[in-house]
């Protein structure tokens, strides 16, 4: 073998090998394993080729002319044999959808073309071995790959069809493959040199275009199916669609189940994160059309930018195959599809999607206040302890959900034992708090004060009755809406945790102080120095008033008050004991 022949053979091996290498590196087959793709190449190169070789020789032995065999017989035999492995694979879990079909089919074709070139065409081409290597490898490999790719795709689409005529698809696939092969064999036989090369490549490229078109068709099918799952039928009205959605409710689960089948379960949590991120980008972009302050607008724009960066990161992790699928099935430009998907997503996973913002939009609440009013209200909320760690932009957004309530004359805001379903901000007038049946208010809230903010966090029954006194304007924030707001905003949840941790600290401190005092009283050692947290400042509690602990007002003063209650108790008990002792002495 001379150097030129050696180079020719190397080219014939290198081009297919490089193509397969690219498949593996780009992870275009995604759900399958490298071993599956190599299995396909192997089947094409050894199994299918070997059988075809035997078959073709047998037919030649039966007296059929070589020409007839090449033009008609061989394409049929070869395409059917190549398809066998695809028919086997389509029943396997690693064959998930059309792109898998295309990749596996192309791999089989490349394998077959490789053997054909190495064992038939190159040995035959004599002096022209180098030219043959180039034109043949490119063109035959392309033709074989395209033909089997078509079969793979038709099988891939088959997986998604349940109707009676489902077997029409693979038959069309094989007929297309055979047709491509026949045309190629008949045309190539007549040509030589540059013309041969050009035409051969043209056929190969044509096959490629066919494959791309078929994949696109398949992805459109997928999209249509997801749209249907989401209730996006064109001939159904919006109202009907919503009704169906409410009844069904499992749309997203269905979609994720199928996406898991298609893209692989390992990818699905990333895909979910990506789709949530995109849903939130869409929701925030909708927000931007609402008139708001510069601060809130900037905050939204910044969040959009952050989410974009995050979705880019996830896309990189997902790789090109999954991205191709997602972009075709959930195109960013398809607004109704996006919207329906966001709604489903929000119902399915409300802790991640900005449900609050969607609600504001659909409830037409978004524009109750002017941007200036919202800004002022946010500033006021910021003064309240519970909101002190929440950013002004977030508070401004939250304020969009505030309702204004006007009252004339006395009105019971809530009774003791009512579900704590809202927080009130006194804008004007007074709110008085009464215990059970008492007619004397425990306390009165003036304008600027806030009533019942703990209800936002736990919704427990009210511990007292609240009554609006005379003409008043209150701002009301519902617990349900507040929870909706914080669910998808971990930084606000953290601010709430911080607020609560501070409160919990004070209760712990108050408990420790109580324990220290009670131990001393128990032992009768009233005067011993305290080893427990020392509270310097004591607030005297009026003797006739019962010391009451208010959740909202837990603070260092509470600890002082508790300490005070016990020190007064200790003093009273000590006095009583001493007078008893004195009596005993006297007697």
């Amino acid at each position: 073998m001379d150097a030129v022949t050696l180079v020719a053979y190397l080219i014939a091996i290198a081009i297919p090998a490089f193509t397969i290498y690219l498949f593996i590196m780009l992870d275009v087959f995604g759900t399958g394993k490298t071993s599956t793709i190599l299995l396909c190449v192997g089947w094409g190169a050894l199994g299918a080729f070997g059988l075809a070789w035997t078959f073709n020789n047998f037919i030649l032995d039966q007296g059929l002319g070589y020409n007839t065999l090449t033009r008609i017989g061989a394409p049929i035999i070869e395409e059917v044999l190549k398809s066998l492995i695809l028919i086997y694979l389509v029943r396997q879990p690693r064959f998930r959808y059309i792109v898998d079909g295309a990749v596996y089919g192309i791999a089989v074709g490349i394998g077959f073309g490789l053997s054909e070139n190495m064992l038939i065409y190159l040995p035959r081409s004599g002096e022209a071995v180098l030219g043959a290597a180039i034109s043949r490898t490119l063109s035959t490999a392309l033709m074989h790959a395209a033909a089997s790719g078509l079969v793979g795709i038709s099988l891939g689409r088959l997986r998604r069809i349940t109707s009676q005529q489902k077997f029409v698809l693979p038959i069309i696939g094989i007929i297309l493959a055979i047709a491509l092969h026949v045309v190629y064999n008949n045309v190539v036989g007549e040509l030589s040199g540059v013309m041969l090369l050009l035409v051969a490549i043209g056929i190969g490229v044509g096959g490629g275009v066919l494959i791309a078109w078929q994949i696109n068709q398949g992805l459109q099918d997928e999209k249509a199916r997801f749209a249907e799952t989401l209730g996006l039928n064109v001939d159904v009205s919006t109202g009907e669609r919503r009704a169906v959605q409410r009844l069904g409710g499992a749309a997203i689960e269905d979609i994720f189940g199928e996406l898991g089948d298609t893209l692989g379960d390992s990818n699905i949590s990333l895909v979910r994160r990506l789709l949530v991120t995109q849903a939130n980008i869409g929701i925030l972009q909708n927000n931007l059309s609402t008139p708001v302050s510069e601060r809130l607008r900037t905050a939204w724009e910044e969040e959009i930018a952050e989410l974009r960066a995050e979705s880019e990161k996830i896309r990189k992790e997902l790789g090109p195959r999954v991205n191709l699928f997602l972009q075709s099935v959930f195109p960013p430009g398809d607004t109704p599809m996006q919207q329906a998907f966001n709604e489903e997503m929000a119902r399915f996973d409300p802790t991640l999607v900005h449900t609050f913002d969607m609600f504001m939009r659909s409830a037409d609440l978004a524009e109750t206040f002017t941007p200036d009013q919202l800004e002022a209200m946010a500033e006021r909320l910021h003064q309240i302890e519970i909101f002190q760690n929440v950013t002004l932009a977030n508070l401004e957004n939250l304020c969009r959900a505030v309702e204004v309530q006007n009252f004339e004359g006395e009105h019971t805001l809530f009774n003791q034992g009512d579900q704590g379903d809202a927080m009130y901000l006194v804008e004007e007038g007074q709110v008085a708090i009464f215990s059970q049946d008492s007619e004397t208010p425990l306390r009165t809230f003036e304008s600027g004060a806030v009533v019942g903010e703990f209800a936002l966090l736990d919704g427990q029954p009210r511990s007292a009755r609240a009554q609006v006194q005379g003409t008043a304007t209150l701002l009301r924030l519902q617990r349900q809406v507040f929870m909706m707001f914080i669910q998808s905003r971990p930084q606000v949840v953290l601010a709430m945790l911080q607020y609560l941790a501070e409160k919990a600290r004070y209760t712990t401190l108050a408990v420790e102080t109580s324990i220290a005092w009670m131990s001393r009283i128990e032992q009768g050692t009233y005067q011993t120095a305290s080893p427990q947290p020392v509270v310097s400042e004591t607030v005297p509690t009026p003797a006739n008033k019962v010391a009451t602990l208010e959740l909202e007002e837990l603070s260092a003063e509470t600890v002082a008050m508790v300490s005070n209650v016990f020190s007064q108790a200790a003093a009273t008990l000590q006095e009583r004991e001493e007078s008893l002792r004195a009596e005993r002495k006297a007697s």
Binding site: D458, Q487, A504, T508, V511, P533, V562, E577, L580
Partner: protein, 199 residues
């Protein structure tokens, strides 16, 4: 080991009800640290930002009284958790902590916790629920103990002891409060009754 540790997180009220998978993930962001006997974990008044889960050994929580004498507040042993509040509110530590034996500890830093929260917002809501419950629960017990102590000062021992204070509580902190209260009522009562009888 990790499965075990995940369950131990349940030992703290704050992580109660957090689903096992999330607990595992939380344990995964915790860092393991070794403290030889006598080593200080943190000083009183230093800014706190982490929660500790003891794997083995013993940690002593201590402070200094008015006369400058060190006194022990309590000990934490294997499987116990402390420092939850500091991680959340970054307030100065109310006492110091040192290893009273060679100890292995898992430390959860605030920053790691924040990153974790971003990925799993549901955990934040569980934690919130736990904290709210704790604050409400503790406050209501404390209120009852205070009211009952008022009754005690009026000499109504039996009423004080029965003043709607359940004998058992789910929190050790509260249980201790209730126990000390009951002991106090009993010993004041017996002391005063003895004095009355002999007079």
């Amino acid at each position: 080991m990790s499965l075990n540790v995940g369950e131990q997180l349940q030992g703290s009220f704050i992580f109660r009800g957090v689903e096992p998978a999330a607990r595992e993930a939380l344990v995964a962001v915790m860092r393991r640290e070794h403290f030889p006997q006598g080593a200080v974990l943190f000083h009183k008044d230093s800014v706190g930002d982490s929660v500790y889960l003891i794997l083995s050994g013993e940690i002593r929580i201590y402070s200094v009284d008015e006369l400058g004498r060190e006194f022990t507040i309590r000990h934490y042993g294997a499987n116990q958790i402390f420092g939850e509040f500091a991680m959340l509110d970054q307030k100065p530590r109310s006492a110091s902590a040192a290893a009273s034996q060679d100890s292995d500890v898992l430390v959860l830093h605030r920053d790691d916790f924040l990153n974790f929260l971003r990925e799993r917002p549901l955990i934040g809501l569980s934690l919130m629920r736990n904290l709210v419950e704790r604050v409400r629960y503790t406050t209501s017990y404390l209120q009852r103990v205070m009211d009952a102590t008022q009754l005690l000062t009026q000499g109504k021992y039996d009423q004080a002891a029965l003043n709607e204070i359940p004998g058992t509580a789910t929190e050790t902190e509260i249980q201790q409060l209730v126990d000390v209260f009951v002991q106090m009522v009993r010993s004041v009562q017996s002391r005063e009754e003895t004095l009355r009888r002999s007079s």
